[in-house]
Amino acid sequence: MNEANLLNDLEQDFLVELFNLGIGKAADSLSQIVNQEILLSVPDVEYISLETLNEKMGGHKEICSVSQSVKGQFCANSMLLFPEQSSLEVVKKMLGDQYSDETIVELHQEGFTEIGNIVLNACIGSLAQSFDAEFKVGLPFYQIGSADDVLQAPDQENILFIRINLVLSESKVEGYLIFLLEQLSFSKFKGMLNQMIKGLLSK
C-alpha cells in the first residue's frame, strides 16, 4: 500500500462529514419509501484490501445489491446492500399491504433495484452539491449472491471503502451503503478534499 495515498485525520474527518450529509438525504428517501425512521451509523472509512472487505461482509450468505457507477472528477462504485430476506421486507414495505407474498417475491428484483436507484442517487446528489460538481450516475445494476460475488471491485490492491449501516427502526432489518473509490481517482479525490478544506479554513 502506498502510504502517500492514505487520508490524513483531517481529510478523513471531512470526508465523513460530507458523507453524513449524503446519507442523510439517502435515509430521508428510504424513510419515505418504507414509512419508518432509518437509523444510521457514522460512516466508517477504511482503506482496505478487497479480501478484507469480503471478510467483513461475509456474515450473510445471500446478499442483494444494487450498484451504480459514479463518474466525474473522481470515479467510484456506489452500492446498496441488504441481506436477501431483509431486502424482501424493504420491498414489501415500499409496495404496501395490498400485494400478496407471491407478488412481492415476483417484484423483488425490480423493486429493490428502484430502491437502490433512489437511495444512491439521493446520496450522490448531495455529494455533488458538496463538491460543486456534476457526476454521471450509471444505471442501477442488481445482483444477488455471496459477498464475494457481489463485491467485485476493479483489479486493484486496495480500495477506499466507506460503509454506513442503515437500520429500519420498526422492521429491525439492516443494510449497508458502500462506496468503493477506485485507485486511479484516489489522488484526485484527496486533492479535491484538500482544496475544500483549505477553502473552509480560509473563510
Binding site: S29, Q32, I33, M94, E110, E114, N121, E134
Partner: protein, 122 residues
C-alpha cells in the same frame, strides 16, 4: 377535475409504474393511463395519440427521459411534462428547466405524485 384525460407513464421500473399508476388512478379514476418502459416504447405508443400529461423517469436504458421529452415536445405542444427522478443534482434540474419541464423527486409517494397531479391540473 372529473374530465377524462390521458396520461403516459414512462419508467423502466415496473414497480415505479405500478406505484405511480395506482396513485394517479386513485385520484382520477376516469383517466386513461398508457405505460412505457423506455424511450423507444414511449415514442411508438404516442403515435397518433392525444396525450395530456407525461410522467417521465430520467434514468432509463438507452435514451434518457430528457431526450424523450425533447423528441415529444414538438408533437405534443399543449401537453404537460413532468420529470420524475431520483437524481437530485442541481445540474439535472437545470437541464430540465431549460426544456421547461417540471421536476419531481422520487421516491414515488402520495406526496410526490400529488404534487405532480397538482401541476398537471394547474
Amino acid at each position: 377535475m372529473g374530465q377524462v384525460k390521458k396520461i403516459m407513464i414512462v419508467d423502466d421500473s415496473r414497480v415505479s409504474r405500478m406505484m405511480i399508476k395506482s396513485i394517479v388512478v386513485d385520484k382520477n379514476p376516469h383517466w386513461e393511463v398508457l405505460e412505457a418502459g423506455n424511450t423507444d416504447e414511449a415514442l411508438k405508443l404516442s403515435i397518433n395519440q392525444v396525450i395530456d400529461y407525461f410522467s417521465v423517469d430520467l434514468n432509463m436504458p438507452g435514451r434518457d427521459g430528457l431526450e424523450l421529452i425533447e423528441l415529444l415536445k414538438p408533437e405534443f405542444k399543449s401537453s404537460k411534462f413532468a420529470l420524475l427522478t431520483a437524481n437530485i443534482q442541481q445540474a439535472t434540474h437545470e437541464r430540465a428547466e431549460k426544456l421547461i419541464v417540471q421536476c419531481f423527486n422520487k421516491p414515488v409517494t402520495n406526496e410526490s405524485i400529488n404534487q405532480m397531479l397538482r401541476y398537471f391540473n394547474e
